[in-house]
Amino acid sequence: MSREFNIDYVFSFIPKMLSYLHITLFIVASSLVLGLIIGLLVALPRMYNIPFLKRVSQVYVSFFRGTPILIQLFLVYYGLPELLKLVDINSSRWDVLWFAVATYALNSGAFISEIIRSGVEAVDRGQIEAAQSVGMSGYQTFTRIIMPQALAVVVPVFSNLVIGNLKDTSLAFTIGAMEMTGKSQTLGSATQHFVETYIALSLIYLVISLILQKLFKVLENTLLRHEHRDAVQKEPEKRKSFVVRYLRSPRLSKGGKGI
């Protein structure tokens, strides 16, 4: 089916695919920013126990965690134009990239809402009461007490989500978005050197994942400075397992995503 293996092609393909890297990264970044907004909106009704909205957000999260991202891509690709037609917007000339971004944003929103919720819940209630008893306002309690601790807890999970999103972008080509995988398809069929294309592409993904992992590790260590200081002073074992318990919490993991 394909021609004989030639390692030279791997090296010549890498720069060609890298010229599409910015589109892949654009999908990842925009889906995260939009996902953060959606995630916050979805997490709030559940944290504050708002009757009807709470149910809606539960169904939303369950649906996007319970279906494959590939199906979601096609649902948005065929469903969004129909929805937009209802409000008299014609999307037939839109770039498919926007449909990919919309899907990944909706998908990330579901996971991010869970991350936000568990991050906030990981903070000890007593601390919040203590903060209020020394006269802090709700806003001050959130920015000074809850946020810093919640952030530290969720960084590893968030890191998994970002890397999962990066890998998921490889599916955007199925609806015709031209990112790195889409480019690899055209390169592969033009030269008939498929194995080399996919080796080159895998190497690019691997390097970006490793870089992201390192960056998040540094961020985590910075945010956890206080934990480490405490850990050295008293009961190191227990301290560590406290953090680890939250990080391994099953509700947080990416579930059906990121593979």
Binding site: M1, S2, E4, F5, S62, F63, R65, G66, T67, P68, I69, L70, I71, Q72, F74, L75, Y78, G79, E82, L83, K85, L86, I163, K167, D168, S170, L171, T181, F194, V195, Y198, I199, L201, S202, Y205, L206, S209, L210, Q213, R248, P250, S253, K254, G255, G256, K257, G258, I259
Partner: protein, 236 residues
């Protein structure tokens, strides 16, 4: 919006014919992945000289690249290897005799193996070291320690992660359509293009996957309750 609700139901029934393939892919890749995962995890925990480095490289590579890449790499490179082998060693096997399903199963097992390896590793490492020492102290062999002390407890701890991996492989099985295996996604494409009702078919496919996922979560929840008896019945 013109949504044909009747066709969603028809499509839902039509997708059932592809359900066995999806389930085969999920079950085989999870089981094979577990075997690979246990081997690589033990190699890394016991720091077996060469094996542990290989395992580490394998896990890093697989977790750092999309599942689609593993599938396409296997799909395009294995036939080359098989044909080369047939030419040089006179194997009776030709790549065109191998069903596409086999390539999908091999690739998904390799993918799942790396994720399972992390599940198994975190599970085993959660078992208290003192218990293992105690087991050795009463004269158990390493195999006995693993089988009687470590594995049962590790299983309880890693069940939620295991469930996530199973759901991950269920959702990942949709990728098999790229190598022409007729699972739910591929069947959806066929149904959609023959009836020209794309949205309805994908709604049906989404509902089917959603149902399967919720079912897996429920079962796992029940099992979790059962095996946590020694913990006083509370979820760990």
């Amino acid at each position: 919006m013109s949504l044909d609700f009747g066709f969603i139901y028809t499509a839902f029934l039509g997708l059932f014919s592809a359900l066995p393939n999806t389930l085969i892919i999920t079950v085989v890749s999870v089981l094979a992945g577990l075997v690979i995962g246990i081997i690589t995890a033990l190699a890394r925990i016991y720091k077996v000289p060469v094996l542990s480095q290989i395992s580490h490289g394998y896990v890093t590579f697989i977790r750092g690249t999309p599942m689609l890449m593993h599938l396409l790499l296997i799909y395009f490179s294995l036939p080359l290897l098989i044909d080369a082998g047939a030419k040089h060693f006179g194997w009776p096997l030709q790549s065109k005799d191998v069903p596409y399903m086999v390539f999908a199963l091999i690739s998904f097992s390799i993918t799942s193996g790396a994720y399972m390896s992390e599940v198994v590793r975190s599970g085993i490492q959660s078992v208290n070291k003192g218990q293992i020492e105690a087991a050795y102290a009463v004269g158990m062999t390493t195999w006995q320690v693993l089988r009687r002390i470590v594995f049962p407890q590790a299983f309880v701890v890693s069940l939620p992660n295991l469930t996530n991996s199973v759901i991950g492989m269920l959702h990942g099985s949709t990728l098999a359509f790229t190598v022409s295996v007729t699972e739910i996604q591929a069947q959806a494409e066929i149904l959609a293009s023959t009836n020209w009702k794309y949205l309805e078919v994908y709604i049906a496919a989404a509902l089917l996957f959603w149902g399967l996922t919720v079912l897996i979560e429920r079962i796992s929840g029940l099992v979790e309750k059962k095996i946590n008896v020694f913990n006083g019945g509370r979820a760990s």
